[in-house]
Symmetry: C2
Subunit: 211 residues, 2 copies
């Protein structure tokens, strides 16, 4: 049993994910998702967190279980069952030299990792619609315009500035700080942070039966 992790970050105004070059057989030299065996006496969540930190060098990220892949032929080592995780890290922490790849044209990946990536993407995009998970892609302090840019990247369409701000603020997921960001020849932007009260919001109400 292994854990595989799809780590997302925004790099250069585009959604990227993290890969590793495999150092051992099988698929030595090929690109793959960060992966590791689950240790004896180690929970799945802890294994995922460990792999994320050891293999990918990323700490404190949002991490959630995604799906479990267990097709018999998916790994040449024999029967390997892989519990896939989805991780989301702030763009700033994306180490400069790390092998981030754009999700728009991903490289060929070993095993069934391409399929895992697709499922992670689908989950991230779905959650963009009804949760504040995308806020995890932002650094500690951020402007509302940056939030909007992240949502636009994920949804792949432009959003109306006024409507976006009104809705985002109404969620109470972020709160003002007294900081300002000054950069460039224009009015400084108010800085926000995740609100302590409800840092991660999932809207429970659905589409079918709001009545």
């Amino acid at each position: 049993v292994t854990v595989d992790i799809v780590v997302f970050a925004i790099v250069d105004d585009a959604l990227h994910f993290l890969i590793e070059q495999r150092t051992r057989q099988p698929a030595r030299g090929e690109w793959a998702l960060p992966e590791g065996f689950v240790g004896e006496g180690e929970s799945l969540d802890r294994a995922a967190r460990r792999v994320l930190e050891e293999e990918a060098g990323v700490g404190g990220a949002h991490l959630e279980q995604l799906y479990t892949f267990g097709e018999p032929g998916r790994d040449p080592r024999g029967r390997v069952i892989s519990v896939a995780y989805l991780a989301v890290v702030p763009g700033g922490k994306a180490a400069a030299g790390a092998p981030w790849r754009p999700v728009r044209k991903p490289p060929a990946l070993a095993f069934d990792h391409g399929e895992i990536l697709q499922r992670a993407l689908e989950r991230l995009r779905t959650k963009t619609e009804y949760s504040t998970l995308p806020l995890r892609l932002l650094p500690d302090r951020f402007t509302l315009s940056e939030v909007q840019r992240v949502y636009e990247i994920l949804l792949e369409r432009p959003l109306d500035k006024r409507n976006f701000r009104r809705k985002m603020l109404a969620l109470d997921a972020i709160e003002e700080t007294d900081g300002l960001r000054r950069e460039g020849a224009h009015r400084p932007a108010r800085l926000f942070r995740l609100s302590a009260a409800r840092p991660y919001l999932i809207k429970e109400r659905g589409i079918l039966f709001p009545f």
Copy 2:
């Protein structure tokens, strides 16, 4: 690695799930979810389907992966990782003598099966809001009132008849047949079936950004 299955059905106008009495150690004699080891060369989905049919005697049900449980201490046999599945079967097929239990006051369950049940319930309720999964709880032919009753049981609140019918029909998930159900001293009810075109609908649009 095992698969555990939470099988839901409507029995006596209440949501029930299926349990089994364990015939072997560990936890012999206790109640538990239908469970089985994943065979060599068997995919997880196929293992789940097999367990569902062999252990629970249910065929042709809707089946989907739910979550993977891997806490080190969850099974006294040692390290057992369990891929949990959610199954939904028509109420009619609920074998008369089968050990269905109401989800409202479930019996004590072995291992961490209580937790698995809770997560399955949460998923089913969430999907009730934005998909037509609940239609799988109905028999081959059904009336609109029966559909409404199922949704009311799952959501635990009454729904307006006219609004419900309008919305349900607008989804194109069910279609009229020319059959009627006559029972009791009142107007017969039109029978419907799952529509061939879109038997399982998930609304993609979310709450946050419909604009």
